[in-house]
């Protein structure tokens, strides 16, 4: 067992998958000579050469679409989009092509590709570079959307994504790259896509998150334990397909839930979770499902404004306390 960063887990996995399968290759902006905007691909150009680590022009629609076309002929491209914001430039190729080609042609060709891209705010990057728009892709049948929150998950889920025959949007997070966690040495675990995980068991309330907010939820659960509140944490891991059973099973046990999401609230991922909970656990619910989400503004640059707009551990704790009060339980 080694303790490594989320970044290292991604890099080690890319490297191992490229050694394992000659059809796996990387393309994206600045992933080669520059070694990646966030250094995920550091060292890979030197090791594998330009054929398999391909720097692209600034042309997201062009190179994402080229990856789709290459995947149709059986290669397994792993595309890096510098941030999820830039996926908007490639959205026609992702939604109208990658997600449609298998079904639209009656299952004649699959599109085994991965689009890796980080979401996340909090870096003072302003309105166009701080969005969390994974919802757009989670909405689309034909795509699979993964959102790992720990280094071990990042590794096992990236392995799953690369070996899967469908297009996978693999959501990373700027706030997670430097986080550390245990990863088994020589690990070759392949995560099961479409499964959430209960990452902490509890009895008082269910906290549901994904990506960075799953990590924040775990930290908050730890803190609330000191107050004697037993929090169960569900890490969604897979945004499409969505594992509603795991969520509902947990809420049936705890009787209440708070969803933590880094995106905007209205129509966001949390809205789908809350709707699923009311349908699957109506008779078990003791309080309305609360959502903790980003303030609904274009993200400002100035630090105090940005900090205020983002969900924080404190905002999560507040929502948990208020929910438990609504249930009628005494909280600290």
């Amino acid at each position: 067992m080694s303790v490594i960063t989320y970044r290292q887990a991604l890099r080690d996995t890319l490297r191992a998958e490229m050694h394992r399968d000659e059809n796996v290759f990387l393309l994206g902006e600045e992933i080669g000579v520059f070694e990646g905007s966030y250094k995920i691909t550091e060292g890979l150009l030197k090791e594998f050469g330009e054929r398999r680590v391909r720097d692209t022009p600034i042309a997201e629609e062009g190179f994402v679409g080229a990856a789709v076309g290459a995947a149709m002929l059986g290669l397994r491209p792993v595309v890096e989009l510098m941030t999820i914001n830039f996926s908007l430039i490639a959205i026609d190729q992702i939604i109208n092509h990658a997600a449609k080609i298998y079904g639209m042609f009656g299952g004649q060709t699959s599109v085994p590709m991965v689009i890796r891209t980080p979401g996340g705010g909090g870096q003072q990057l302003g309105a166009t570079h701080s969005q969390n728009i994974e919802l757009f892709y989670s909405f689309i049948p034909g795509l699979k959307v993964l959102a790992p929150s720990t280094p071990a998950e990042a590794a096992s889920m990236l392995r799953a994504a690369i070996r899967d025959d469908d297009p996978v949007l693999f959501l990373e997070n700027l706030g997670l790259y430097n986080t550390k966690g245990e990863v088994p040495d020589g690990d070759d675990t392949v995560a099961e896509i479409g499964r959430a995980a209960v990452t902490r068991e509890g009895t008082d309330i269910t906290l549901i998150g994904y990506s960075r907010m799953a990590m924040v939820a775990s930290q908050v659960a730890e803190k609330l334990a000191e107050e004697g509140i037993s929090v169960e944490v569900v890490d969604l891991r897979s945004l499409r397909p969505l594992d509603r059973e795991t969520i509902v099973e947990s809420v049936r046990k705890t009787g209440c839930a708070v969803v933590a999401e880094d995106d905007w609230l209205t129509y966001g991922i949390g809205a789908e979770i809350a709707a699923s909970i009311q349908e699957g656990a109506f008779d078990w619910l003791d309080a309305p499902v609360r959502r903790v989400a980003m303030a609904e503004v274009p993200m400002p640059y100035a630090k105090p404004l940005e900090t205020a707009a983002l969900p924080s551990p404190e905002s999560l704790i507040t929502a948990v306390h208020e929910t438990l009060r609504a249930v009628g339980r005494r909280v600290g």
């Binding site: 789709v68 076309g69 009656g106 004649q108 479409g194 897979s238 594992d243």
Partner: protein, 367 residues
């Protein structure tokens, strides 16, 4: 309107001079061709013509749904282009592709059945008019979004290049496509990475109802490759032999030189943008011009004049084509509709946990 469909001094014009030609610049002549070859081209062109006429009929009879764009007027271009491809070469097209599907080798029955939305259709009834796909003949799709096929074709050529293969990718599109971002991004990438892809622009002077002059700042579209150092050629799309020669030249050069090329075929759309478009925006002169440039009629009279085609042979071919189209329509009509039980069969290639198989009125939690 572009000043001329037929470039001065022969069947083709080029955007960059001084290159060797594998064929002579003069327009190809019927006299230099095998009668059998000419008759085969004629038959193919007539098949596409009659197939599309039958398609229009079936559409008005509500046997075909959705959008339906026909290749009427494009027959010489299609047959010329498809003749230039080897079986192993890949084809990507836009949504006006019925004729290309047939030309690439898909049986007309399966094309018509797709139009009828039947399970025997080339895309099993999942694609319809705009989305014909066939792995076996390497027709890698008609695409409904303008420009969508360009990055895909570029990526297919990347896969060929990655593996060191010798296949060529042909990517067909309409004139309006040369203004969309995917055009610029794809040509740039194809040229940067030396990919074996031939981009083919079918210039029928109009994108839906908007002329090339109103939409392209450089209306001589074959010149637009020069920004990416891609050699461009313009050819008379009404001349099957000229298209064949120009396309063969570029396809084989893409194969041997491992780089992209651009071909612009000057063509005519004989009807509206789609079956339901009466094309009222066209002047009577434009309608007359399209009629006068009917590639099937013009090739037919050339062959009759040259004695390659006789009235008797003409009738024989007409009958056989008519039978083939009738057979395709009958096959489509008598084919089963896809079973609703297959609704969830093609969402994912790799089965996945918690995939939704909910019908519209079903609860989210079925138990």
């Amino acid at each position: 309107m572009a000043d001329t469909a037929k470039p001065k001094g022969g069947g083709t014009a080029r955007s960059t001079g001084g290159r060797r030609r594998s064929r002579k610049d003069a327009a190809p002549s019927i006299a230099d061709e095998q009668p059998k070859t000419l008759l085969e081209y004629y038959r193919q062109m007539l098949l596409i013509r009659r197939f599309e006429e039958r398609t229009a009929q079936a559409y008005t009879q509500a046997r075909i749904g959705g959008y339906c764009h026909l290749n009427l007027g494009e027959e010489a271009t299609i047959v010329g282009l498809m003749t230039a491809l080897q079986e192993r070469d890949y084809l990507f097209t836009n949504y006006r592709e019925h004729g290309y599907a047939i030309g690439k080798g898909i049986h007309p029955r399966r094309v018509m059945a797709e139009l009828y939305g039947r399970s025997t259709g080339v895309s099993k009834g999942w694609g319809g008019s705009m989305h014909m796909f066939d792995t076996e003949t390497r027709m890698l799709g008609g695409y409904g979004i303008v420009g969508g096929q360009l990055p895909l074709a570029t990526g297919a050529a990347l896969a060929v290049s990655y593996r060191g293969g010798d296949e060529v990718v042909m990517c067909q599109m309409g004139d309006g496509t040369t203004n969309i971002g995917a055009w610029h991004e794809s040509l740039n990438i194809a040229s940067l990475w030396n990919l074996p892809v031939v981009f083919v622009v079918i210039n029928n002077y109009t994108g839906m109802g908007t002329t090339v002059e109103k939409s392209s700042a450089e209306p001589e579209l074959y010149k637009r490759g020069s920004a990416f150092r891609i050699e461009g050629v313009r050819v008379d799309g009404q001349d099957v032999l000229a298209v064949r020669d120009a396309a063969t030249d570029l396809v084989e050069r893409a194969r041997s030189e491992q780089r992209p090329f651009l071909l612009e075929a000057m063509s005519h759309r004989m009807k509206g943008h789609s079956v339901v478009d009466p094309a009222k925006y066209r002047t009577p002169e434009q309608v007359e011009e399209a009629k006068a440039n009917d590639p099937v009629a013009s090739f037919e009279s050339q062959l009759l004049e040259a004695g390659v085609l006789t009235e008797e042979l003409k009738q024989e071919i007409a009958d056989s084509v008519r039978d083939e189209v009738t057979d395709a329509a009958d096959f489509a009509e008598n084919s089963p509709h896809p079973d609703v039980a297959t609704l969830f069969d093609y969402t994912y290639a790799t089965p996945v946990a918690n995939e939704s198989r909910r019908m519209p009125a079903d609860p989210v939690f079925a138990d």
